[in-house]
């Protein structure tokens, strides 16, 4: 892919754009943690901390506070990521004290196999029969907790397709806006889905209907392509539809040379896109 940064043409791959697009949602003072197989969010946190949000607080693997990994390792849950932490957070009491309290870990990045028009996600089963599913997915892990506890949720998905973006998920393993409207608020759940960063576009949610809405398309992607890849009718924004900002050369240099020289961020993409 290529795009423009200021008046410079730059080449980048879609994983790099997703990293910068996700990083843009994190600011100083935010608190973030990551779970397993979360290369894009981890790269986004590291990038944000090195550029516009040095005071973004990061608990690597939900274990290590303010870690100093050498680079992104092959796992986002193993010790190499929480290298040189300032604190190991006890998982049974302290970490869950933080998660279950809406004051802490204010933002969370959600990755799941399926998501629907109201931002509910499914990482449990594909199919109608929960006890004899067509596909048994990994399971909710901590997703169901983080989605229901007043966190602002940022979704990433490397494979925007009608199979992954569906009208209604087969199983709600993480609560988005549920049936839409005030359904989430009626259950007393704060926070909720704020943005979706896919390999095609950035989406948000309409403030009233809570339906997913196109916010910007990535450079070189058309609205029709996004619509065709979405299994439900995507709302269109009022006014002009902007293009997602391209990564800047300094961002790309950091991602490629410092943060993720091994290219772990490219895993999970159906086709490895190279610049």
């Amino acid at each position: 892919m290529s795009g423009r940064s200021g008046d410079m043409a730059v080449d980048y791959s879609i994983d790099e754009l997703m990293v910068t697009a996700l990083a843009a949602h994190f600011v100083d003072g935010d608190q973030a943690c990551n779970g397993m197989a979360s290369f894009i969010p981890v790269a986004a946190f590291m990038l944000a901390r090195m550029t516009h949000a040095p005071e973004l607080i990061w608990i690597a693997s939900s274990v290590g506070l303010e870690p100093r990994p050498k680079r992104i390792p092959a796992s986002t849950l193993e010790a190499a990521l929480w290298r040189d932490s300032i604190m190991y957070i006890d998982q049974y009491t302290d970490f869950w004290n933080l998660v279950l309290n809406g004051r802490w870990i204010t933002k969370f990045c959600v990755g799941a196999a399926q998501m629907d028009c109201h931002g509910n996600v499914n990482n449990s089963v594909i199919g109608d029969d929960y006890h004899r599913p067509e596909v048994r997915l990994p399971g909710t892990a901590g997703l169901a907790d983080l989605c229901s506890i007043g966190k602002d949720l940022y979704y990433w998905h490397p494979d925007h397709s009608p199979r992954s973006f569906v009208e209604k998920v087969d199983f709600i393993s993480g609560a988005g806006y549920l049936g839409g409207g005030d359904a989430r608020a009626r259950l007393g759940l704060g926070g909720g889905p704020q943005a979706v960063v896919s390999n095609l576009a950035v989406m948000d949610f309409h403030p009233e209907s809570r339906r997913m809405r196109l916010k910007s398309v990535h450079p070189g992607v058309t609205v029709e392509q996004v619509r065709a890849a979405t299994g439900f009718e995507l709302m269109m924004p009022e006014g002009a539809l902007p293009e997602t900002a391209s990564p800047t050369p300094p961002q790309l240099q950091l991602i490629r040379e410092v943060i993720d020289p091994d290219g772990m961020r490219k895993s999970g993409f159906r086709t490895r896109v190279t610049s």
């Binding site: 390792p73 193993e78 006890d90 004899r132 169901a144 229901s148």
Partner: protein, 298 residues
């Protein structure tokens, strides 16, 4: 203090067919794999597995037909993908899954540890996890008029399986400073029996140098067995990393029924000792690789 050191055969002999067995594990990390293999060797059947985030251990137990139900938050080998044998078992209806979020599983086990009938959480409200599990999860009102909670029914496993850095022969169990995943803090306290493998069995005097690193009191432990590299092929920070080759080989093998059966026989059932198992898994060269500092992130 009472002697708890024994053989792996006798330790696993304490598990009965049909038991609910809680397994320490976090994806590619810290699973008591020697105990898992011994369960396979002893052909345990109808085991219900409790696991926070299960990895290759779950896949092996599924492949060997040991488990027929699972209570847990996720099963994944992370970078090595889904557990194919487990997945096939669930999709065919041979393994029944009670999926819980981490906070709900912690609450169920925490209630078991404290002999409370339930503990509440605010996690997972609104999800189908709650809706489809009325036996163990119920929305309930706050008696003081506040927000509703999910009551999570106490879960008391029959057995908990733990791997640790060191222990003494009385079952006092110690961990090196590292991530303390929640399962270690609650599964042994909740379970009726606790079986432990340790990288080394040491004199109690060694433990007394760092009493703050002792994570389980000997009186809670029923059996302790010395098993060097007892978590292989999962990682056991800071001692060693996960075995990438071994995981990768399994992801290939596990897609094929014949190769899976051969693997279970040759690699898991046949080796008569940990030394034989490690030799078959790559021997000293493999051990050097997983001990490398880079691989453990140290």
């Amino acid at each position: 203090m009472q002697e708890k050191a024994t053989s792996i055969e006798k330790a696993v002999g304490l598990i009965r067919n049909g038991d609910v067995v809680a397994l320490q594990n976090m994806a590619t990390q810290a699973a008591p794999m020697a105990l898992v293999r011994e369960m396979i060797r002893q052909q345990k059947r109808s085991i219900g597995l409790v696991v926070l985030v299960g990895g290759i251990a779950v896949d092996w137990l599924a492949a060997a037909g040991v488990i027929d139900r699972l209570i847990g938050a996720a099963v994944s080998m992370e970078q090595f993908g889904l557990c194919q044998q487990y997945r096939a078992g669930v999709e065919a209806g041979r393994i029944r899954v009670e999926e819980l979020s981490e906070s709900l599983l912690n609450a169920r086990l925490g209630a078991g540890a404290r002999q409370l009938p339930f503990l509440p959480s605010r996690g997972a409200i609104g999800t189908d996890l709650v809706a489809q599990n009325p036996d163990n999860l119920r929305m309930m009102d706050d008696p003081f008029g506040g927000r509703a909670v999910v009551a999570c029914r106490a879960l008391v496993p029959d057995v908990a399986l733990v791997h640790a850095h060191r222990a003494d022969r009385f079952g006092n169990v110690q961990y090196e400073p590292t991530a303390m995943w929640p399962d270690l803090a609650v599964m042994p306290y909740a379970a009726r029996r606790v079986l432990v493998t340790a990288e080394e069995i040491v004199d109690s005097e060694i433990l007394r140098r760092h009493p703050e690193r002792t994570v389980l009191p000997g009186f809670m432990v029923d059996a302790v067995v010395e098993v060097p590299f007892g978590a292989h092929p999962t990682s056991f920070f800071p001692a060693y990393g996960y075995d990438e080759c071994f995981h990768r080989a399994w992801t290939e093998i596990s897609r094929d029924a014949g190769r899976t059966a051969a693997f279970v026989d040759n690699q898991l059932r046949t080796p008569r000792s940990q030394a034989e198992y490690l030799e078959a898994a790559g021997g000293e060269q493999m051990l050097t690789r997983i001990r490398a500092r880079e691989s453990t992130g140290g």
